[in-house]
């Protein structure tokens, strides 16, 4: 199958054979794809190689055959995004998250849009932690593991802003006491659902919650980027 001008981002590149790269791409209509880009290493290919850096909106011409696609052409779309400082590290986290949580060739137009939106937010230097929480929420939703952020798990009551909850990945928000480990306020879950940034306490609780959920979906694994992000101080 030939795909023309497929909107895509490169998530990761690694050397492949002599002069090629194996790219991990997020495409709009075919989800994550492994793409072989031939002859893009070495000095003469520097220009073509530079185009294939992450965080750059691309239109790719691809030949899709079996598991891997082959790159037939790449065009840069729009201005290059500059993800400076911790926003760049956050971008690497984003890419690891997408690669680890999605399957290849699983079409995800919603995820593609969420990813593009998130890069734009990072490039605009919006607060990193909140930008990542919003993306994690949208990613989980897109791959069918969406969080239950409005209903209580036991019974069919609505989440109460004043109540405290423990988020169980399989069941949802279970009521608990305020001091319980991993307790998160109903108000913070509702804020995430309504796309409003909660206060500091809420942000810390949501970060913890998301890590638990992601760890669960990774089958207990860790993201390497967590250790990278742990070592940097937020700017300002």
């Amino acid at each position: 199958m030939r795909l023309d001008q497929q909107p895509a981002y490169v998530l990761h590149a690694r050397p492949y054979r002599e002069t090629s790269l194996l790219l991990e791409c997020l495409t709009r209509d075919h989800g994550r794809l492994g793409v072989v880009a031939r002859g893009v290493r070495g000095e003469r290919a520097r220009l073509r190689r530079a185009q294939l850096e992450p965080f750059q909106a691309l239109a790719l011409d691809l030949l899709l055959r079996g598991e891997l696609a082959t790159l037939a052409g790449a065009e840069v779309v729009g201005m290059p995004l500059r993800l400076a400082g911790e926003h760049g590290l956050a971008g690497l986290y984003l890419n690891e998250l997408v690669v680890r949580l999605t399957a290849r060739q699983d079409a995800q137009p919603v995820l593609f849009d969420a990813y593009a939106r998130t890069l734009a937010r990072l490039a605009a230097s919006e607060p990193v932690a909140w930008t990542l929480r919003r993306f994690e929420r949208d990613l989980l939703e897109a791959i069918g593991y969406g969080l239950q952020l409005r209903q209580e798990a036991d019974g069919d009551g609505l989440l109460q802003a004043q109540a405290h909850y423990r988020y169980d990945v399989e069941q949802g928000a279970l009521r608990c006491t305020a001091g319980a480990p991993h307790a998160v306020r109903g108000a913070d879950l509702l804020a995430l659902a309504d796309d409003r940034m909660p206060d500091r306490t809420g942000m810390a609780a949501l970060r913890q919650l998301m890590r638990e959920v992601i760890r669960y979906h990774l089958g207990g694994g860790e993201l390497r980027a967590w250790r990278v992000l742990a070592g940097v101080q937020p700017q300002r």
């Binding site: 690694r14 530079a50 185009q51 290059p80 500059r82 690497l92 993201l223 390497r224 940097v232």
Partner: protein, 200 residues
């Protein structure tokens, strides 16, 4: 090909970059027909190097001694420390510049998807060195790629935490280049990092 030894030699030579089956065969025949002595020398050098070259305990560059010659010597400037991704980059800087300071080799760059985090790059060791008080400037010479830039940011924070001034290699339009032919990313970078003209 009837000789087992010959085919295993050809196969072994193919591990070299840029060497395919044809070149490997040519190399093997050349050594056997015309240059056995130097072939043996090559074998010895290869074995010695593979077994004895490790990493310098201080800068992580390749070295067969616990400390490499650069680190062990006292002639270089101890106030300058230049961080590079690989020994190849170190060699390039040595050949192209008159730099007389010290180095630290990461053997990679922060890349979660390649399994490379702060531990793999020896960043705790670097932080400790920056905290010793001798280094005044940390010259960050990671590549101008997404991962190299992210690594540079991380290193700059390490430097500031240790009271060291971080600097970054300038990047932009290549010498002899014409703006028209420079890729957009490079041009945007060069434009963003423009310098005042009042330097002589």
């Amino acid at each position: 090909m009837t000789s087992l030894l010959l085919s295993s030699l050809i196969e072994a030579l193919r591990c070299l970059p840029g060497v395919g089956g044809k070149s490997a065969q040519r190399m093997a025949f050349h050594l056997l027909e015309r240059d056995r002595e130097r072939g043996l020398k090559l074998a010895d050098a290869l074995r010695e190097a593979m077994q004895r070259i490790g990493r310098c305990a201080r800068c992580r560059d390749f070295s067969e001694e616990p400390l490499c010659a650069t680190c062990a010597g006292s002639t270089r400037d101890h106030h300058l420390l230049c961080v590079v991704e690989s020994p190849v980059d170190l060699a390039a800087i040595e050949q192209a510049t008159g730099y007389r300071g010290h180095y630290f080799v990461l053997h990679g760059r922060l890349s979660p998807l390649d399994g490379l985090g702060p531990e793999e790059l020896g960043l705790a060791q670097l932080a400790q060195r920056l905290g010793e008080g001798e280094v005044e400037e940390l010259i960050i010479a990671t590549n101008p790629t997404v991962e190299g830039e992210a690594t540079a940011h991380y290193l700059a924070q390490l430097a500031r935490a240790g009271g060291v001034r971080p600097t970054r290699l300038a990047h932009g339009v290549p010498l002899g280049g014409e703006l028209e032919y420079v890729d957009r990313g490079t041009l945007a970078h060069a434009f963003g990092g423009r310098m005042p003209c009042d330097h002589p």
